[in-house]
Assembly symmetry: C2
Homo-oligomer: 354 residues x 2
Amino acid sequence: MSDIKIHCNEEKGQKFIKDIEQKQFLFSFVISYTETCEIPGITVAGANTDFIKFTPAADAEFLHYGSCKSIDMIPMTPDGKPTPALLTKAALESASIPQVIINAGSKISPKLPYFQTDITPGKNIAIEPGLEQSNVMHAIDCGRILGRTLASCTDCLIIGESIPAGTTTALAVLKGLGVDAHVSSSMPKNPQSLKNGVVEKALKRSDSKEPYDVIANVGDPMIPFVAGMLSTASEITNVILAGGTQMAAVLAIAKSTGYDENRVAIGTTSYIIDDKDANLLDMVKSISDIPVLSINPKLKNSKFDGLRAYSKGFVKEGVGAGGSMIASILKTGIDSKKLLELIDKEYSRVTTSQ
Amino acid sequence: MSDIKIHCNEEKGQKFIKDIEQKQFLFSFVISYTETCEIPGITVAGANTDFIKFTPAADAEFLHYGSCKSIDMIPMTPDGKPTPALLTKAALESASIPQVIINAGSKISPKLPYFQTDITPGKNIAIEPGLEQSNVMHAIDCGRILGRTLASCTDCLIIGESIPAGTTTALAVLKGLGVDAHVSSSMPKNPQSLKNGVVEKALKRSDSKEPYDVIANVGDPMIPFVAGMLSTASEITNVILAGGTQMAAVLAIAKSTGYDENRVAIGTTSYIIDDKDANLLDMVKSISDIPVLSINPKLKNSKFDGLRAYSKGFVKEGVGAGGSMIASILKTGIDSKKLLELIDKEYSRVTTSQ
């Protein structure tokens, strides 16, 4: 277990780990969309701007099929930095963890069976409110329903997400709620001034500090949906919020939906914890008394440039990669070295078969 | 356990029961559609013909909310015979069994989160082939994916269905495959000559005895989808095919998709077993060596006419009612008398709140 570090509430973290070790896990992958990602330069998700909206569905297809159906390739930058779905897939397969896809506002539906929710994609918060108030409530309600259902089927529900530009809307929500927030980026040069400009513009539209008003004005559909999931799921079972700074925004909103602090942990990669531009741990401490677990996938030791790039600040996290690797280790006792072998093997398979 | 009767392979039935007693169950509710139900007089599902297509979605909503959203009332005949979803709901709630809805070709989507598959609704087999060949394969593929996922989350996967006129397409598929088939009806006067006329007409279009050809010509989307589910799910866990004669058609097709005979049972009501117009047990014996479990819900002792009608040949089964009641008994040790109290209570709630 030395591969997993516990941050924030150490004692709760140890208890959480003990409760789920060698137990059954279920991975739920929430795909969503905010038109905020159409602002040039704001995200690296998607090989080019035309493809951004396909990325969440393509990630879902990749997790399941090992290849994509909505686009011809797997989500990867032109120079070979792969989607974090590659890490997630290797981790879930290593531990035979089943997965379900949830469409919570993605513009593109994945070409495999998925949970449909009829949540509307989010708007560009630089221009207009991200969500209608009714869509916020609908997202929370749907989250509550699926959180209850999925939690009833497992000892530990992992919730991962894919929403391009999701760190920008998360930043806006956190700031709107008065949290001293600095979020990570999928790029080593975090486009902070661009993000902050968008956030400032968006927050100017409203003075309300009411959480649901803040979400409607500057949020995206993933945040209220996952907050809803967390509220019901944590009443029933253990929950890993698998992600970085975006999950801090979920936690902040989940204060309003309610949830059991004793059955939730954030699970993420060390690249998020080590990100000097962000302050995940401080944010979590200021919002809630829950543990944060992190895993160092040691991608700097990978055979491949595209994966080593993660250790140089690219991508860092996403598609629940950190939480999935933590779950794999806790379920099977595998270590991060062996996990890296599987990740390298998967990268090799993917780049050879393209 | 004396409330549950074992038919066909007694020994396998006892082992099956032993394997799932006091274990975790998951109910999956497959909703679908065939335009065959638009033939006047062929089904009682739906209070009137305009509403038939809403019935599967309304059943799904009722299971979850206890009321319907797509229509203003719960599916019930004008004189108060309720949808079998009422029995299913009481049974699942009594045992805290979680449920997921799967849209496998329903014309109407339920107003709650559900698995989307993009399977096309079936055509009227009296007029044209029920499914395109590609839709048959797509249904099987989707079934395989969801069967694998859901089976990984439970000790026993219950599969129920709602597809108006599904007994007619089931009859056609069974006859097309050379099974000596007599199917049940949701009406006490089984419109056999009408059904047989439709089936005869449909079967005349093709001489092929190839299972996938037969399904395409005279089947509905539910049958190949559930056959696909069964094939992967039974590799992983125990499966209750919760239904009557339609599940015989699923079994017949599942011979082609493959499945583990040692981990599947049909679970149904005694009204199906006692139906003199049908021959479920003989059909099952001729197709496969699996047990059939039945439960007598003793609705003749109900306080309400609408429920007593079940014991007089109305409705009989549907929405996985029989399998759900069996699961409730096996999970919790409740008896059928107590279950009837809960069913009566639910009927009272529903009819009072209308």
